[in-house]
């Protein structure tokens, strides 16, 4: 039976971890994800989980310990943010190329510098090419639900890749909101046991993990990784369908909101999508045909599906909570434009850098973006395609 609760995003993820009862957690604290290992180590101390908690001396060591324990055959997780994720960079690639289904709770925070503890997506977007599955969450409920689904995706035999579940630092990680939790046994049954085919502690079948790869095999191994990532798309949908039966909550590769007949639409990630939905409702009440597409799965990137969902939209703003310094816009903008171009779209597209370093995103700010899109629709003139939202003079 569903449990009505009120929890912060960090508490929600820590509870999902407790319900999963993994074998190992290795973590080093960093704001704003610190509470996740903090809550979880309390669960360990209280005997509520059987997990071995490894308090390491840095994030480099945290991910190294995760790689070691997952390779040994243990279901493993960690949590981090910002520079902590950056310090894991080398091991992120190793985890992915060794095909280790580690789960990581990423609480999105700006990368230094200037040093800043608040939300943006520069940390996980920086890690987008590391070979991890990336799933994003609008609120505490989605962070919880996504984490419950994480291992079913990552450990699937057609996938075997590490997975990162992201939510916005402070905005959702530290906001207490209503949430519906599953019972412990429901989560345990849904996630199931971890029985890897190959693992280091298997005495009857010795193996090497992470050896040097020569040019005559490296490309083939990378291709296998790429195929696994492509496979993840269907697995994510299958797991979501099963999760819907359990929870009643529906998930896809992305969510569309009032997009069917929209002339102008936003593509957006995480908490600001909720704020943008209020803006959509306000403008719809004025008779304006607006909608939005909220990315849930960024890796693998559902390019064809996104292009299909946006096919009738005339003007699109892609919202990047991350600077890419390409002088063209942010990473989401590049991916969405690539998807639209490949699909032969003639939609006009602008890219907004917004909300970086914790700049607050109000309903009115989003209305302003839709206003700019309607200007483009009326004049046919796109103007500057690389814009900053709410930039002070």
């Amino acid at each position: 039976m569903a449990i009505r609760e009120r929890l912060s995003g960090n508490e929600a993820v820590a509870i999902a971890m407790r319900q999963i009862n993994p074998d190992v957690m290795a973590a080093f604290p960093i704001t704003p994800s610190t509470e996740i290992p903090q809550y979880f180590s309390t669960f360990c101390a209280n005997g509520q989980v059987d997990t071995e908690f490894v308090p390491v001396e840095s994030e480099h060591s945290a991910m190294s310990a995760c790689v070691g324990s997952e390779a040994a055959g243990a279901r493993t997780l960690t949590a981090t943010s910002s520079c902590g994720l950056a310090l894991m960079w080398e091991e992120l690639y190793i985890a992915a190329s060794c095909r280790l289904p580690i789960a990581l709770a990423c609480v999105n925070r700006a990368l230094s510098g200037p040093i800043n503890i608040n939300c943006d997506h520069s940390d996980s977007m920086g890690a987008r090419d590391a070979g991890w599955i990336q799933i994003y969450s609008e609120n505490n409920q989605e962070a919880y639900d996504n984490f419950v689904q994480a291992y079913r995706i990552a450990e699937h035999k057609d996938v075997r890749l590490p997975i990162m579940i992201c939510q916005d630092g402070f905005i959702t990680s530290h906001a207490v909101e209503n949430i519906s939790l599953l019972e412990d046994n429901e989560v345990r049954d849904f996630v199931g046991d971890y029985n890897p085919d190959e693992y280091l502690l298997n005495e009857s079948h010795s193996m090497a993990v992470g050896p040097y790869d020569i040019p005559s095999y490296y490309m083939e191994h990378k291709k296998q990784q790429a195929v696994a990532m492509e496979n993840a798309k269907q697995v994510i949908l299958d797991v979501a369908a099963e999760f819907e039966k359990l929870s009643g909550r529906k998930y896809g590769l992305f969510e569309t909101y009032k997009l069917e007949d929209a002339e102008c639409a936003l593509v957006i990630i995480n908490s600001a999508a909720g704020t943008a939905k209020d803006a959509v409702d306000k403008l719809r009440a004025e008779g304006k045909k607006v909608g939005l597409l909220k990315i849930r799965v960024f890796r693998p990137f559902p390019a064809e599906e996104i292009a299909e969902a946006l096919k009738n939209v005339k003007v699109i703003a892609v919202m990047d909570r991350c600077e890419g310094f390409s002088s063209q816009g942010g990473p989401l903008g590049a991916e969405v434009k690539s998807a639209l171009y490949t699909a032969g779209s003639t939609a006009k597209v602008v890219d907004y850098i917004y909300g970086i370093g914790g700049r607050d995103v109000k309903v009115e700010n989003i209305e302003e973006v839709y206003g700019a899109l309607f200007d483009i629709l009326a004049t046919g003139n796109v103007g500057e395609t690389y814009r900053y939202l709410s930039l002070r003079d």
Binding site: R6, I117, F170, I171, V176, N178, S271, K362, V363
Partner: protein, 190 residues
């Protein structure tokens, strides 16, 4: 959205404004509402001005911005009236609740022409009388519950007793003092 009650808290780091906002979220949650309780984070330290927020609604809350046009403002530290524009955006149909030994009429001239209702409560006096120490957040929580009418006094006290028993499980000796502070505050807010 207009059917969401929005409350902004002004305090100083260490006074418990964040905790009070989370307790208010708890109280409203227990009446069956949808809630948000969240602080504005930055490089805070003890004594620096901080802001925390509540949204309370009959329907799910999707917006995740700070609050700029609240119905209610709670000021946990009177000295903030000089440092922070506490009535900024505050709706005149709403109200402001200030921790002060002064009367509302004495405080009003410091509120930059705010036309709405003004309430004061001497949280220091109540806290010292009830707890023997200065923790303004319980009195301020009771005051805002009284002023907003989110729930009646008896249900509120019953909810808080349960909440304190959970929160102070390791130091039950402070529960009675906090309950006393709440009861006094419900009577004394003016």
């Amino acid at each position: 959205m207009s059917n969401v009650l929005e409350i902004r808290w002004h305090g100083r780091g260490g006074q418990g404004a964040k905790t009070a906002s989370l307790l208010l979220a708890d109280v409203a949650f227990n009446t069956g509402k949808y809630v948000q309780g969240f602080p504005e984070y930055g490089p805070e330290r003890m004594g620096a001005p901080i802001t925390a927020y509540n949204r309370i609604s009959e329907i799910p809350i999707r917006v995740h911005s700070n609050i700029y046009d609240p119905e209610y403002v709670v000021v946990v530290d009177e000295t903030l009236l000089e440092a922070v524009d506490v009535t900024k955006g505050l709706k005149k149909e709403g109200a402001i609740v200030i921790n002060s030994a002064k009367t509302p009429d004495e405080i009003r001239p410091m509120l930059k022409g705010y036309e709405g209702r003004v309430y004061t409560i001497d949280a220091r006096k109540i806290s010292v009388a009830a707890l023997g120490k200065y923790f303004p957040n319980s009195p301020m929580l009771a005051a805002i519950v009284k002023v907003t009418g989110i729930m009646d006094d008896e249900s509120f006290l019953a909810e808080m007793e349960g909440s304190y028993k959970h929160k102070f499980a390791s130091k039950p000796e402070v529960i009675e003092g906090n309950m006393k502070a709440l009861r006094m505050s419900l009577q004394e807010v003016k």
